[in-house]
């Protein structure tokens, strides 16, 4: 039992937590941005797949890693624009459109990947982001190796949480996003164009989702597999609810989920002989649902979420 608790004191566990959490942070932030503006984006799983492929492919074709992430963001933005066009001006069902985007983006990704990348016994590789030890901070015992020896996109993800939280809470732009998510008619009365704000939020959010996918192929791993997102997008959708649509809590949720995952991988060695491994794999999801039950009671859903806005219609 002490062995199981000892794991929690290892710096390497906490380093793993940050690595596992990074794509979830990007994805959750993206989904949160869309939903705060009133649009549910179930295209996330496909957009992450698309981002994973575009980011990787750009680097494979000679771009540097940051350009790769930018290309991924751009591809995500385009997919987001499609979702926004269907759901905002046309006011179609956000569920149907989102799932459609997921199917379209993942199939298109597979198709393009197959067309342009040579087949081999194992997929080709790129040189991914290398861990960047922050001078000074990375020498701190325990905290250094745990928190300050990550790859740059991880630091970016955490910085973006702070930026998004600030923009949403403290700027006119953030106020506009929140207003169109709560009451687009009131926003319109204030001279804000809900259609434009919603489209902008969905495009920006989708770009973030794609960067989350690209993290997997340019940092966590160095190759692309067409099926490698493995439900991370859906986890992000749940994390948004867990976070009550707040960026800070989204970070906490992603870290908590990642902690359970990193912990179960280590726990398998300690008590693996006694407990079936499936239980460990379940842990992150079960804990998330449990946390969701507690958190959701206080969840403040954006009032106009999933309601199309039509000018002049009550």
């Amino acid at each position: 039992m002490t062995e199981a608790l000892d794991i929690l004191t290892q710096a390497s566990l906490w380093a793993a937590v940050l690595r596992i959490a990074t794509p979830l942070i990007f994805g959750t932030l993206g989904a949160l941005l869309c939903e705060r503006a009133g649009v549910l984006n179930l295209g996330i799983e496909g957009i992450m797949t698309l981002g994973a492929m575009v980011g990787w492919l750009s680097v494979y074709w000679g771009a540097d890693l940051w350009t790769g992430l930018l290309c991924a963001a751009l591809a995500g933005a385009i997919a987001g624009l499609l979702h926004a066009a269907l759901t905002v001006p046309l006011g179609l069902s956000q569920h149907v459109s989102g799932l459609g985007i997921t199917l379209l983006a993942s199939s298109l990704t597979y198709y393009v990947y197959r067309l342009v990348v040579e087949q081999g016994s194992s997929p080709p590789t790129i040189t991914p982001f290398q861990p960047l030890a922050i001078p000074g901070l990375s020498d701190i015992p325990f905290l250094g190796p745990a928190l300050f020896a990550q790859t740059t996109p991880t630091y970016l993800a955490i910085a973006l949480i702070a930026v998004t939280a600030y923009v949403l809470a403290r700027t006119p732009l953030g106020l506009a996003v929140r207003m169109v998510g709560e009451n687009p008619h009131a926003a319109e009365a204030q001279g804000i164009d809900p259609t434009r704000v919603r489209i902008g939020a969905v495009v920006a959010g989708s770009a973030l989702m794609a960067v989350g996918g690209a993290y997997l192929t340019t940092s966590a791993f160095n190759s692309f597999f067409p099926t490698m997102i493995q439900g991370r997008g859906w986890v992000c959708i749940a994390l948004v609810v867990f976070a009550s649509w707040r960026p800070g809590r989204a970070l906490a949720g992603a870290l908590l989920f990642a902690l359970f995952d990193a912990y179960q991988l280590r726990l398998q060695h300690v008590v693996g002989a006694l407990v079936p491994y499936q239980l460990f794999l379940m842990v992150p999801y079960v804990m998330s649902i449990a946390a969701l039950v507690v958190m959701a009671r206080r969840a403040r859903v954006p009032q106009a979420l999933m309601q199309p806005y039509r000018r002049g219609e009550r």
Binding site: R19, S121, S122, M228, Q268, H269
Partner: protein, 327 residues
Amino acid sequence: MTFAITRRRFLGTAALAASAPLFTRRAFAADPVKVAGIHGDPVENAWNSRIHEALLSAANDGLIEYTFSEGVAGTDYARAMREYADQGAQLVWGQSYAVETEAREVAADYPETAFLMGSSGGPSGDNFGVFGTRNHEAAYLAGMLAAGLSKTGTFGSVGGYPIPEVNLLINAFRLGVKEVKPDAKFLNGFIGTWFDPPKAKEAAFAQIDAGADILFGERIGTADAAKERSVLAIGSLIDYMPRYPGTVFANAMWYFRPTVDAIVADVIAGKPVGRDYTEYSFMKYGGNDVLFDTAAVSAEAVAAMEAKRAAIKDGSFTVTIDETEPA
């Protein structure tokens, strides 16, 4: 010499001409067997890539004609089988793990078509053959090589799901290690998915953190963690040495060509194929073997391994098949 058409010569030529259709029939019988592959996953997935490569090489040798589909979902699988059978495929290769009952139903509807399926079940009828993946003998030998290279005496392994084919592989690796190092300690992690290299990598990191310095990678991603932490890894099914030079020092290779040759011979001979073709994955048929970097392993370790390898080939030693879930 003058050349005149005599009656005898005319008759001879005519007979030859008349028999021409017989020869073309003969030529038709030696035509390549039409094979359709239905891959449930992308063909660069390690397991599928071995089969894909074997079928491509058989096509290259003129033995078969090979068409394939990849990434065919379980819900679409039976339809794809029927379509290929309708199009005149003589042999349909596939993986029926997720569609065991349906696949057998399709085979029963097409008695003229031969089916060979990667399956957890047994053969069915005259035309539904199955095969298992067996590179456990190679994994055993790789374990023998690995035993001497560990400083910590702890050996890790990362698997997808604890299905029999994965369990027996990891257990064979462990038996090989124990043969040389009886006091070895083992760790194992299952990640509950086949296609999540970043997760396999995290599982491998977890084992390295717990003291493992040799990792048996049933899943791709394992060796990436080994590379980052400068420990050694062993690959399974395909040759990972070019991808991870200096990290992967041995592979438990699986070769599918002997299985292809066996079933194609049966199809040509018109024999029923409703049997288990697993044996053709065994080392004595050339179905699996250890591939290693001679520079990374000591000569004594190689000699001991080679002795065991010869014993497996001549049948004097059998690697135990243990399908229990490794802890």
